[in-house]
């Protein structure tokens, strides 16, 4: 069930420079503060539909996305806010999208489950469990065929391990030696059920079956994730074929906001903050000599950004129906080809 650092592979002694750690911490703080705000907005009825929060998993998003270069791409999941925010999607466009406003990054067409920014190589969150895996596989195929030098990452949860797409894509990626990383955010829960009751194998064995190297890290230790991600991304980029990075992490909120989580043990939930990736990161920064006031200032700065973004989202217009129709197909002026 919930994972612990003890199960992770040993971390090589390769300390990350403090300024880099501070940047990762700021990314995590942005994700945490944004999602905490979203949780409140959802409870207040300001967000329609479903939202799935990744509170407790911020280190994976910050560490993995932080290891990507500008040509790289990734496909994420329904619990994908963190990855998208880590990639630098503009906060106001993000809030507008999730609140269903015209100026949202997707014009209010997609919402929380479909946040995408193609200009940043973000192939979208996805409402279908496991559906991002083939998208990332195809993206890696394009990187390889076009020789872009890019790597594609497929984020997926442990629940998606049971999807056929993972097995098919591991096979394809291995056959074609694609520049691709399969990043599993293993929070122990397949929606409302413990993954131990859902999946008979383990990811390392699955990888081994296809000859895809597997690395497991403490997904709540951002430095460990960052180091491991850098290693697997560069291996994939350099023609080493696909890699699996399994990040053991924790899901604090329900499968979706409003899920009372009656299926979870109260002790497990109560114990989650002890393994808080943000607290662990802050402690490491303090130990490395960063001032407490600097961390407090970082929190304040992030909060101010979020306040501004939220204000802009609330002031933004609602989407126009006619404009939405125009996005079903690419405008057709160019459709007649040939003589």
């Amino acid at each position: 069930m919930p994972s612990s650092a003890a199960q992770a592979d040993p971390i090589p002694a390769n300390p990350i420079p403090t300024d880099r750690r501070l940047a990762l911490h700021r990314t995590m703080q942005t994700i945490r503060a944004t999602e905490t705000t979203l949780s409140r907005l959802f409870a207040d009825g300001e967000i329609p539909g479903f939202i799935h929060l990744s509170v407790g998993q911020e280190a994976v998003a910050a560490g993995v996305v932080g290891a990507l270069g500008p040509r790289d791409s990734f496909a994420t999941t329904h619990r994908g806010h963190g990855h998208v925010l880590a990639r630098g999607v503009k906060l106001d466009l993000f809030f507008k999208e999730i609140m269903g406003r015209a100026g949202g990054i997707c014009g209010g067409r997609g919402g929380s489950m479909h946040v995408a920014d193609l200009s940043l190589g973000v192939l979208g969150a996805n409402g279908i469990v496991g559906a991002g895996l083939p998208l990332a596989t195809g993206s890696a195929l394009a990187h390889q065929t076009r020789r872009t030098g890019g790597v594609a990452v497929a984020f997926f949860g442990d629940g998606a391990m049971a999807e056929g797409a993972l097995h098919e894509c591991l096979n394809m990626a291995a056959l074609w030696k694609l520049p691709m990383v399969f990043v599993c955010e293993n929070n122990g829960w397949s929606e409302f059920s413990p993954t131990s009751t859902q999946f008979a194998a383990t990811l390392d064995k699955l990888g081994a079956a296809f000859g895809v190297p597997h690395r497991k890290v403490d997904g709540n230790d951002v430095a460990a994730v960052a180091e491991a991600a850098a290693e697997v991304v560069e291996a994939a980029r350099n023609g080493g074929g696909p890699r699996i990075l399994e990040c053991l992490t924790t899901r604090w909120h329900g499968h979706f906001e409003g899920d009372p989580q009656r299926y979870r043990n109260a002790d497990e939930i109560a114990g989650l903050p002890r393994n808080d990736p943000l607290r662990r990161s802050a402690e490491a920064l303090l130990a490395a000599g960063v001032e407490e006031s600097a961390l407090a200032a970082l929190v304040d700065a992030v909060d101010a950004e979020i306040r501004d973004a939220l204000e802009a989202a609330r002031a933004d217009a609602l989407p126009d129906v006619d404009a939405a129709f125009r996005d079903v197909y690419t405008p057709t002026a160019t459709l007649t080809a040939g003589a």
Binding site: G108, H114, A116, S119, I128, L135, G138, L141, A152, E168
Partner: protein
């Protein structure tokens, strides 16, 4: 004068020319490379364009089509082959939830320039899981385009048009037509959504597409012998279908039969009939009739399959019924 091509060679020619014209075009599918495809629609392309752009994929329909979507979002123009249209069931998430919706749900940030080629149709006694005509499913999904070339010329031109189109296109080829011979014109106009008047007539309109065009032609010949001049509209594109051409023909003949090989109930004909009823009502001098397959799976045995496929007899009877 060019040598006549077979339909399947026109497909290969279109793929070859598209790949030569645009380095982003690539082929993916089961056995499309070394084997040249089960129907040889990709024969010779591996040699011409190399293994990176002509990819044999594992038998993983769901992920290979999903990968095509991902590749299309990353700068490629993949042309995927699904060996039999029946197998597309395995790839429905990729087609319906990913390819069709990416442009819309990402707010117009991107297009998904991919093509899914697949053969449908009976006539080969391939049985219930290798003969279905499922094009109506895709025509029902906003974001997809669907085309069904009936002639050798269109097999070339419409596939080129599909590859050039910025949005996902399902290209449906009737496998019974692969051996058909005809000429292609590599410079023919390649418009999306334009029908073709296959035969002009004044008395009744037969709207059709795909292999049923040939049953419609036989029916029109027989009707002509009785003094009934049927006009045949070869739709070519099912999504978007050419309302203008169909309504113009209805305004001329006032009687319509829609014929297709797919199951009649809830089929392409149902949509067209409904639109004629709502938008061309005052032009009608008879009820709109449909000729399609009966509501059962297509069977294997020769006699059963023959009874199943819509033929000229049924089209003749339907046309006469509109003239009663």
């Amino acid at each position: 004068m060019p040598k006549p091509l077979r339909y399947v060679n026109a497909v290969a020619q279109a793929l070859n020319d598209a790949m030569a014209a645009d380095p982003a075009v690539m082929l993916m599918g089961e056995d499309v490379a070394a084997a040249g495809g089960p129907f040889k629609a990709t024969r010779g392309l591996l040699d011409a364009h190399g293994p990176e752009r002509v990819r044999d994929t594992p038998i993983s329909e769901a992920s290979l089509v999903g990968a095509a979507v991902g590749a299309a979002l990353t700068g490629m123009k993949p042309v995927v082959e699904i060996m039999f249209m029946d197998f597309v069931t395995l790839a429905m998430d990729a087609v319906v939830n990913q390819a069709a919706k990416a442009r819309f749900m990402f707010g117009g940030q991107c297009s998904v320039p991919m093509v899914l080629r697949t053969p449908h149709g009976g006539g080969l006694n391939a049985g219930p899981q290798h003969s279905q005509c499922l094009e109506a499913w895709f025509a029902h999904i906003p974001g997809l385009r669907v085309v069904c070339p009936a002639t050798v010329a269109d097999a070339y031109s419409l596939l080129r048009a599909a590859i050039e189109a910025p949005d996902p296109v399902v290209v449906v080829e009737n496998k019974a037509l692969y051996a058909l011979q005809g000429d292609i014109d590599v410079n023919a106009p390649r418009a999306v959504g334009k029908a073709r008047i296959d035969r002009a007539g004044r008395d009744a309109t037969i709207v059709t597409y795909g292999a049923t065009l040939y049953a419609a032609r036989a029916a029109a010949d027989r009707l002509a012998a009785e003094g009934i001049e049927a006009e045949i509209v070869d739709l070519r594109w099912i999504q978007p279908w050419d309302e203008e051409a169909v309504f113009a023909s209805v305004a001329k003949t006032h009687r319509v039969v829609i014929a297709h090989e797919a199951v009649q109930a809830f089929g392409v004909g149902a949509e067209i009939a409904a639109r004629i009823a709502s938008d061309a009502f005052d032009d009608l001098d008879a009820p709109v009739l449909r000729v399609g397959a009966p509501f059962m799976p297509i069977a294997f045995a020769k006699t059963l399959e023959a009874a199943y496929l819509p033929d000229a007899d049924r089209i003749v009877a339907a046309v006469k019924s509109t003239l009663a």
